[in-house]
């Protein structure tokens, strides 16, 4: 599904290399987790994959379903099925949450040459999916993320993901700032979307999210590279011993 080869990237303004050759392959139907200390390049990886301005790719390649996406605009990558759940979801005053989602869904459909979703159909689907995430009608009407609590913002990200039905979902620290109950809700939302045609890349600091979203593989990222890959037990190891041992081992 997602094939990252020797990806190198730096901040466009500072000429500071952050990704120093990332290699990672995520197969369809799988959940991969990336853990790593602060500043290891996890969030940068998610931004480079989704095409945010301000980063310069200096080497390597990224293919989504065999297509090179590095030359694509962010919206083209989205239409190809790449979704990023933001660590800090952005507020858009005055734009209703539902209007936002519908605009996004139809923009993607249009880009793929599909029929737009009618207002009634959209309403039906959004209500059903919002319900499972305990998002009420009021939250659907409110402006995008404005005045939402931390938990509401993250649930809203998952709702958008559910509506857009992407192939490749990247979750950037979706568990940050969530209490246990909110995290469970979010995890349930993610689990409900797991299927064999869809892959997940879950970026997190903590093992606890992985108790709820069971990963197939766990990668440890440090200093712009994946330095170790293992099963779910690797996350437990990090939880108990921190990164020091792993870093020492690799060095």
């Amino acid at each position: 599904m997602l094939e990252i080869k020797d990806l190198k990237a730096s901040l466009a303004d500072e000429d500071k290399q952050i990704l120093k050759g990332v290699n990672l392959t995520v197969e369809a139907g799988k959940v991969h987790a990336i853990m790593g200390p602060n500043g290891s390049g996890k969030s940068t990886l998610s931004y480079v994959l989704s095409g945010k301005d301000g980063y310069e790719v200096t080497g390597g390649s990224v293919a989504l379903d065999g297509k090179d996406i590095l030359e694509m605009e962010p919206e083209e990558r989205a239409a190809e099925g790449l979704f990023l759940a933001f660590q800090y979801p952005i507020e858009i005053p005055g734009v209703g949450n539902m209007v936002f989602m519908r605009t996004a869904v139809n923009a993607q459909r249009k880009a793929r040459g599909e029929d737009e979703m009618s207002a009634t159909e959209f309403l039906k689907v959004v209500r059903a999916r919002a319900k499972t995430l305990k998002i009420d009608a009021d939250m659907l009407k409110r402006p995008v993320n404005v005045g939402f609590s931390g938990g509401e913002k993250k649930r809203n990200e998952i709702l958008q993901m559910a509506m857009l039905e992407p192939k490749m979902c990247i979750l950037d620290e979706t568990d940050s700032g969530l209490d246990v109950d909110a995290m469970k809700l979010v995890a349930e939302g993610v689990n409900a979307l797991r299927d064999e045609g869809r892959a997940f890349l879950v970026i997190t600091h903590y093992q606890r999210l992985l108790d709820h979203i069971k990963p197939d593989l766990v990668h440890i990222m440090a200093d712009g590279r994946i330095i170790k890959t293992g099963g779910p037990e690797l996350a437990l190891e990090v939880e108990q011993n921190g990164y020091a041992d792993i870093l020492a081992e690799v060095a």
């Binding site: 989704s50 095409g51 945010k52 301005d53 605009e73 962010p74 919206e75 990558r77 989205a78 239409a79 979704f83 990023l84 933001f86 979801p89 952005i90 507020e91 858009i92 005053p93 005055g94 734009v95 539902m98 209007v99 936002f100 989602m101 519908r102 605009t103 996004a104 869904v105 139809n106 923009a107 993607q108 249009k110 880009a111 207002a119 309403l123 402006p143 958008q160 857009l164």
Partner: protein
Amino acid sequence: MTALDEVIVKDGVDQETVDAVREVGGAYKYGWETEIEMEYAPKGLNEDIVRLISDKNEEPEWMTEWRLAAFARWKKLSEPKWAMVSYPEIDFQDQYYYARPKSMEQKPKSLDEVDPKLLETYAKLGIPLKEQMLLAGVEGAEAEAVGNRKVAVDAVFDSVSVGTTFQAELRKAGVIFCSMSEAIKEHPELVRKYLGTVVPVSDNYYATLNSAVFSDGSFVYIPPGVRCPMELSTYFRINAENTGQFERTLIIAAKGSYVSYLEGCTAPQRDVAQLHAAVVELIIEEDAEVKYSTVQNWYPGDENGKGGIYNFVTKRADCRGDRAKVMWTQVETGSAVTWKYPSCILRGNESQGEFYSIAIANNMQQADTGTKMVHLGKNTKSRIVSKGISAGKAQNTYRGLVSMHQKAKDSRNYTQCDSLLIGGNCGAHTVPYIEVKNNSSRVEHEATTSKVDDEQLFYCRQRGMDEEEAVALVVNGFCKDVLQALPMEFAMEAQQLVAISLEGSVG
């Protein structure tokens, strides 16, 4: 894919409406010209021209004298220079002050005598279908409500009104809705009583000029206690070259009455700038309410600032009676230069004035617009919500006055001015004037300036919207509280206009 292809549809709006609105897409799409034989007054401005305009309108002597007095005063005035706009000097002698289609020489007795070319023009401008049916003289169209809301239209083409719809039905309710020239002939007592009482002849350079040479416009009288049964609107079209349009609108809402009035404006795309100087006067008696909405879409000139309309407009509402209410809503997307301050005189106790404005300036456009809230009565309230959006190399200025007079005890004003900048070569300016002469009134002013945030755009694009669509969405969100004040259909149109006038402002 452009922002225009994707419309943000409010729930409950059907596809047909959306498609119709989508048609509106493209850069300035009203830039075409109607090929029609015109009759002009000689170029230039002098007493004879003033007399000629008066004569063409078959006006009584008092009206001619009124105009001549205005002209005499105008000659002594000089153009105001305080606004933050710059444009080449206007040669007032190099303009036509009167232009009417030849076919309007004999004023049509009914709408079906109107020149088909003119009817076509309005059809092409997208005046709602029902009016088209009416303008084309289809029997029974009035009775058959195509939509669930009727809008009566007065269509002004260059210097003359070509027709007014639903007049008969309105007359049944006691409402007078006709062209200004007709009103001067048919209802001289009303015109004489009210004309120039809100915007005096001496008010300002352009208002004085307008008083001398106005050729037509709309007249509305809503009798006491009457809620006008439909929305009224005037559609202004400038067609002729080198011709200024000077129209005069007078709306009188008698005690306890209500009317909602809409105004739309377009002009062909030309290399040479054209002048538009209108005066609008609203008189609002006790317990009456007037809502006045404008969607101004005059040709803005090209991206190098060539051509476009110079729009110098004086609009003022006088809340004469207690508890009188007025609401100005304007969406200003057009004109090369806009100079316009719809104002409220809150004379009656507990009277209320509201001003909601979106001014969008792209390319080389310059807008200096705002309002004046003059609180004279006790417990008067006013609210100003102004949203300025600048893109390209445009300059957008909010200029507003809030004045609390000594007797305006316990009055309140709330002002919110937000500016949004798209790109780094445009400017936004806020110039508030506040005068408070009593100690029981309260004035609040909030102003913000923001740039369309890259993070917001990336968020939208990550979800699949292209850049223009993302900008349109963010900007529409920014404008929402003003768009909400517009009647539904206008809100849709305005939302589209926002997207259109910002086209090419990103990327």
